[in-house]
Symmetry: C2
C-alpha cells in the first residue's frame, strides 16, 4: 500500500500551478456549499510518518480553504481530567457541528499506532484497539460525521533528507521535532505500524488515503484532492451492519407484563430501612476506593412512575458537591447538530463523582421510536451503540446502573389526576402526558425490546415495580448499595 508513496513522486511547478488554482476554487466552493447545507460534519484525520510534512500541509489547507470554518483539533498525551474518563471522551466532547470541518492531530489512532510500532506488538491489544476505533467511526459515520483519514508517507531516505533540510534553515527549523529525527532509525517499525493500522481500520465509510509526501507540491495537491473528494461526497455511507445493527432477532419477553405490581412496603419498615440504606450509600461513595471509580445512574420509566422521588432519596445521601443530575428532554439546536450520544458524553463523570440521568440516551429507542421521530434503521442500531457507550464507561472505571420504574395504567391515571389537583404539581401534567398514555402498549413494547437488548451484566437494568412508591425507592437504593459494596 505504500509502494507509490515510497517512490517519492514529484509534481513539477508547471504541473502544480494550474492544479493549485483549480483546487483552491473547488475547495472553497465545496466548503461553502457544505456550510450552507449543514447536513454533515467532516473530520480529516491526520496521521503518518513523523517529519512527512503533516503540520505544513494542514496549515496549507487552512490557507486554501476558509479557515473561519475549520476547527483544528490537536491532542497530545491525555492529561488531567481526560485521564479520568474513557479515552474517546475528549474526541466526543470536541466534535464540531454539522456543516463544519475538523482537522484532527493526535487522533484516536495514536494508541493503536504506538502499540503497532512496538518491537513486539501485542496482537490482542491491536485487535481490541482497532475494534474500538471501528465502532467509534461507524457511529460517527452513521450519525452524520464524515471521516477521511490521511496517512502521510515517504521513503526512509526522503524523510531523513527533509528533516535535515528543514533543520538547516532558521526559518524552518521550528517545524522539526526531536521525534522527526529519530524516524530514520526505526523506519521499518513505523512503516509496519502504518500497514497494520490501515489494514485494520480502512473502511468505505472512513477510508484511509495514503499521501505521497516527499515532494511538497505532490503532497499539497494530493491532500487537497482527498479533502475535496470528501467535501463533495453525497449520500449516507454504507456501514457494515456488524458494527451498527443489534444482535439479530431475539425472542423478546414481556418483562414489564410479568412484573409483580403488588409489591409493597409498610411505612414503618420503610422509614428505618431507608435511613439504613442511605447511610450505607453515604459510606460507600465517601470511601477511599470510590475516589478511583465513578457512578452513572440512569432512570427511565412511564410518566408519573416516580423517577424524581426516587432520585431525591438517592441524592439525600450524597454531598451536593459530588453529584450532577441531568434532566433529559428534547435536544436543542447545538445537540441536534451532533450525533445523539454527544450530549451524554459531555456529562460523563470524573472519578469520585456521580452522574444521575433523569431519562437518558435510551430516549432513542423509546420516545423517538414510538413517536416516529427517528427512522427504524436508526433507532435499531442504537442498541449496539448504547451498549458500546456503556461498555466504554465501565472499562474506564464507572459503575453503570439503569432503573426502569414500572407502573400500571390505573396507577398512572390516579397519579395524573392527583397532579392536576395539587397546587404545585399541576404544571407537571401536560397534554403530552395524556397523549403518551394512549400509546401505552407501544411504549411497553419498546421498553421490553430495550430491556432484552441492553440488559447486560456490566451495565444491568433493574426493573422496579413502582405502583408503591416506597417499595420502588427502597429497591433502587438496595440495588445501588449492593452494587457499590460488591464492587468497592
Amino acid at each position: 500500500m505504500f509502494e507509490e508513496a515510497e517512490a517519492d513522486p514529484c509534481l513539477s511547478k508547471e504541473e502544480f500551478k494550474p492544479l493549485e488554482a483549480r483546487l483552491r476554487v473547488a475547495l472553497l466552493n465545496a466548503q461553502y456549499q457544505r456550510l450552507r447545507q449543514a447536513r454533515k460534519t467532516l473530520l480529516v484525520v491526520v496521521a503518518g510518518i513523523d517529519g512527512a510534512g503533516k503540520g505544513a500541509t494542514v496549515n496549507l489547507l487552512n490557507e486554501w480553504m476558509d479557515p473561519r470554518h475549520i476547527k483544528t483539533l490537536a491532542y497530545g498525551p491525555p492529561e488531567g481530567e481526560e485521564l479520568e474518563r474513557p479515552p474517546l471522551w475528549r474526541y466526543w466532547k470536541d466534535l464540531p457541528p454539522k456543516g463544519r470541518t475538523g482537522i484532527v492531530f493526535g487522533s484516536w489512532y495514536a494508541p493503536l499506532i504506538r502499540e503497532a510500532a512496538r518491537k513486539h506488538p501485542r496482537h490482542d491489544a491491536i485487535e481490541a484497539q482497532a475494534a474500538a476505533i471501528r465502532r467509534f467511526e461507524a457511529i460517527l459515520a452513521a450519525e452524520g460525521v464524515q471521516i477521511v483519514k490521511l496517512w502521510f508517507h515517504l521513503s526512509r531516505q526522503a524523510q531523513r533528507e527533509r528533516a535535515e533540510r528543514l533543520l538547516a534553515s532558521p526559518e524552518t527549523a521550528w517545524q522539526v521535532s526531536p521525534a522527526d529525527l529519530k524516524v530514520y532509525k526505526k523506519f521499518h517499525r513505523i512503516r509496519a505500524a502504518g500497514e497494520i493500522t490501515l489494514n485494520h481500520t480502512d473502511s468505505g465509510h472512513a477510508p484511509w488515503i495514503v499521501i505521497p509526501s516527499a515532494d511538497e507540491q505532490m503532497r499539497s495537491a494530493r491532500t487537497a484532492e482527498a479533502v475535496l473528494a470528501a467535501l463533495r461526497q453525497h449520500g449516507v455511507p454504507r456501514i457494515p451492519p456488524s458494527f451498527v445493527a443489534h444482535s439479530g432477532p431475539t425472542r423478546v419477553i414481556d418483562r414489564l407484563g410479568r412484573l409483580d405490581y403488588q409489591a409493597r412496603e409498610e411505612k414503618d419498615d420503610y422509614d428505618s430501612e431507608l435511613g439504613l440504606l442511605q447511610g450505607r450509600l453515604a459510606g460507600a461513595v465517601r470511601s477511599r476506593k470510590f475516589q478511583d471509580r465513578s457512578l452513572v445512574l440512569v432512570f427511565e420509566g412511564q410518566d408519573a412512575a416516580g423517577k424524581g422521588g426516587a432520585i431525591r432519596r438517592v441524592t439525600h445521601a450524597l454531598d451536593a458537591r459530588q453529584f450532577d443530575i441531568t434532566p433529559v428532554s428534547a435536544p436543542n439546536s447545538d445537540e441536534l447538530a451532533r450525533p445523539y450520544l454527544w450530549r451524554f458524553w459531555r456529562q460523563v463523570p470524573r472519578k469520585g463523582r456521580i452522574a444521575i440521568f433523569d431519562r437518558s440516551w435510551y430516549g432513542r429507542v423509546l420516545v423517538e421510536r414510538v413517536e416516529k421521530l427517528t427512522p427504524p434503521a436508526t433507532w435499531r442500531r442504537a442498541y449496539a451503540e448504547i451498549n458500546d457507550f456503556e461498555g466504554q464507561l465501565v472499562a474506564s472505571g464507572a459503575i453503570v446502573l439503569k432503573f426502569w420504574l414500572a407502573i400500571t395504567p390505573d396507577v398512572q391515571l390516579a397519579r395524573f389526576k392527583e397532579r392536576e389537583k395539587s397546587p404545585f404539581k399541576h404544571f407537571k401534567i401536560t397534554p403530552d402526558d395524556w397523549r403518551n398514555r394512549d400509546k401505552w402498549q407501544d411504549y411497553a413494547r419498546a421498553a421490553n425490546d430495550m430491556l432484552a437488548r441492553t440488559d447486560v451484566s456490566r451495565a444491568p437494568w433493574h426493573l422496579v415495580s413502582a405502583n408503591d412508591k416506597r417499595y420502588a425507592r427502597l429497591q433502587v437504593l438496595r440495588h445501588i448499595v449492593q452494587t457499590l459494596e460488591d464492587q468497592l
Copy 2:
C-alpha cells in the same frame, strides 16, 4: 453585622416543623415557576465560617427543592488550564442557563476572603478584588443572573463545639475538614475578613445575608427563607450606574469620516513586505516568551470590508494547531439563555495560543444597537462591560488588538456587485447586506461611538483604511507584529 448570628439563636422542634413544611412547598413552587418562565438564572453563593454547616445546608436545599434543576458548582484552588485564563473564567464558563439555579462553593470571593483574613491584609489588594467582584456581579445582575450571597456565621465557641460533636461520631466525622478544626485559633481574623467582605460587596442587586448557623434548624430555615425570597423576586434590580454606564457624555469624533481612504499599496511592494511581516509574526508567536502570553484579535468593519482576507493573511503565518477562529453571528438558544459575553468568555485562549474573532462582542454596540435588537439602556452599559472584559484578558497576560476595516459606500457597492457575479462568492451576498447598506450612517455613528469609548491603550482599536485590500492587510499585520515585538 454578626451580632445576631454570634448569639447562636435556636429554633425549637415545635417552631421548626410547621415552618419546614411551609418552606418546602413554597421552595418547590417558586423553583418550578422560575423554570417555566426561564427569565433568570439564580446563583446562590455560599461562604462564611468554615465548619458552620455550609455543606450540610446545601445538601438540605437540594433535598427540599427539585435537585434535577439545581447545579452545584464547587471550586477548589485554580488548576490546569484555569491558571492560564483570567480568574473569573471558570465562573463564566459554568454559568447555568436562565430558569436554573446554581449553588456556588469556592466562589469568586475566595481570594478576597483569603486576603482579608491575613494577619496584615493589603488594603489595595482588597480594594482591587472587591471592585472586580462588584463589576462582575453588576454585569451578571444586569444580564439576568440574580445573585444572593449567604454568609454562614456562628460564635467561636459554637463553631468549636460543632466540629467536635461531628468528629465524635463516625457517621458525621467526614463532614469535618482539617480547616474546620483550625478556625477556633484565628476566629477573630476570619470574622474580620467577613466584615471586610460584606462591607465591600453588599449591594441591592447581589445582597449578602448572614445565616445564624449554630443551630441546625435555625440555619436550615434561614437559608431556605433567603433562597425563597430570591426565587420569588421579580423585576430587574437597580444597579448603581457607576458600574454599568459608560463614562458619560463624550464628544464623539467622526474618526471613520476623517480616515484617508486613498491609502494604497503597490503590488510589488506588497508581496515582499507581506512575506517579511508574516515571517516576523511567525517568529514572534513561536518565541519562548509568547508561550506565557496569548493573543486576542478582533476584526470588525462594514460588510465586504475584507475581514476574511485579512484574517487569512494573518493565519498564513501561524501553525493551525495554535489558533482558533470564531466567526460570530446571531446567538443560538444556549447563548441567548446567558449573558451576552458568555459565548466569548468560552473562547478565551490558553497561554501560547491565539483567538481570532471575525466579528465579536462589539456586535452589542453595533448591529444590536442599529437594528434595535437591544434596548438603549442595555447597549449603553456594554461599553463599560466590554472594557472590563478586555481589561481582565490583558491582566491575565493576553495581548488584545482590535481592527476596524473601513471602506467607503462606493467601494462596498462595487464589491457587492462583484460578489454577485462571482461563481463562488455570490452566496456571500444576501438581502441583509443590501438592507444594512441603507443604514450606512447609523452604523458609522455606532462605530464612531464605539471607537470613542473602547479605544483604550491596553486594548487599542486600529482603524484601517480598507478601500485598498493590500494596504489594509499590511496595516493589520504591521500592527500585530509591532505590538508583539514591543511586548515580548
